[in-house]
């Protein structure tokens, strides 16, 4: 299961084992609730537990980026594996997301 945590104005999202469209629907809804209700301006996506991701994962990040970037917020990603990085690059997310080691 995904986990959400707010630290100062950072929303930390620990993504679930499988990030697909079925999971994405819930994740987007919950994330937007935090972004709108709790005034977070930055979002950190943590892929530590994630063993599978398809383009739905890219959609989750793009959508959250759109919501927070207009207020100057930033998006971060940690614990990505090689394949995720390749997917990020293909979608151009490496230009808008700060990838941390």
């Amino acid at each position: 299961m995904e986990e959400f945590q707010v630290i100062n104005n950072y929303l930390m999202i620990k993504l679930p084992e499988e990030v697909d469209h079925h999971q994405a629907t819930t994740i987007c809804k919950k994330a937007d609730h935090y972004i709108l209700q709790q005034n977070v301006s930055n979002v950190v996506f943590d892929f530590e537990d994630t063993k599978f991701m398809d383009s739905s994962g890219i959609g989750i990040i793009m959508g959250r980026y759109r919501k927070i970037s207009c207020f100057g917020g930033k998006v971060y990603a940690i614990h990505m594996d090689k394949k995720m990085e390749r997917m990020f690059d293909m979608a151009g997310l490496n230009k808008i997301v700060e990838v941390l080691e």
Partner: protein, 155 residues
């Protein structure tokens, strides 16, 4: 021995309700179908990604999440080559060329990225899209598996 292996054939067909909890079911089924070939972790994961993209598209674009259609998945193994067909009888694609452009999506409202076709192309060896508006869409993908078998077979 190697030649015999390469000529082995196996086939399966699945049809299932177009609901999102079946996305993971479809991935697991295809992965289980090819495990006896001993594909690498990367290959399995690439196939899972491609199947996930095609099945998700059938559910959310083909049937527009109306929960009332069937997705058809057909897998064929010829030696170490996997052929996958994903078919829906949904609304079809008007402009296939544009649909296949990276980042093009008709559903940004559903948080789609428009990277589905791009990932199918990147992670499989071959991709073909056939679609007719009002009739449905068929995706055909091919991938050679267990490329390391050539090395293993030395012993």
């Amino acid at each position: 021995m190697m030649t015999q292996m390469n000529e082995q054939k196996n086939e399966m067909e699945i049809s299932f309700d177009a609901v999102s909890q079946n996305e993971s079911f479809a991935r697991v089924a295809v992965a289980a179908f090819v495990t006896h070939l001993n594909p690498t972790m990367e290959e399995i994961d690439d196939v899972r990604t491609a199947v996930s993209e095609a099945v998700t598209n059938a559910i959310i674009h083909g049937y527009e999440k109306r929960d009332c259609g069937k997705v058809y998945l057909h897998c064929r193994l010829k030696g170490d080559v996997l052929q996958i067909e994903v078919m829906d009888k949904g609304k079809g694609i008007e402009n296939i060329e544009r649909a296949m452009e990276p980042l093009f999506t008709t559903r940004p409202d559903l948080d789609r990225s428009g990277m589905g076709f791009a990932f199918m192309e990147a992670f499989m060896d071959d991709l073909e899209v056939e679609s007719e508006v009002g009739k449905g869409t068929t995706i055909r993908m091919t991938k050679k598996l267990g490329s390391s078998a050539w090395v293993d077979s030395e012993d």
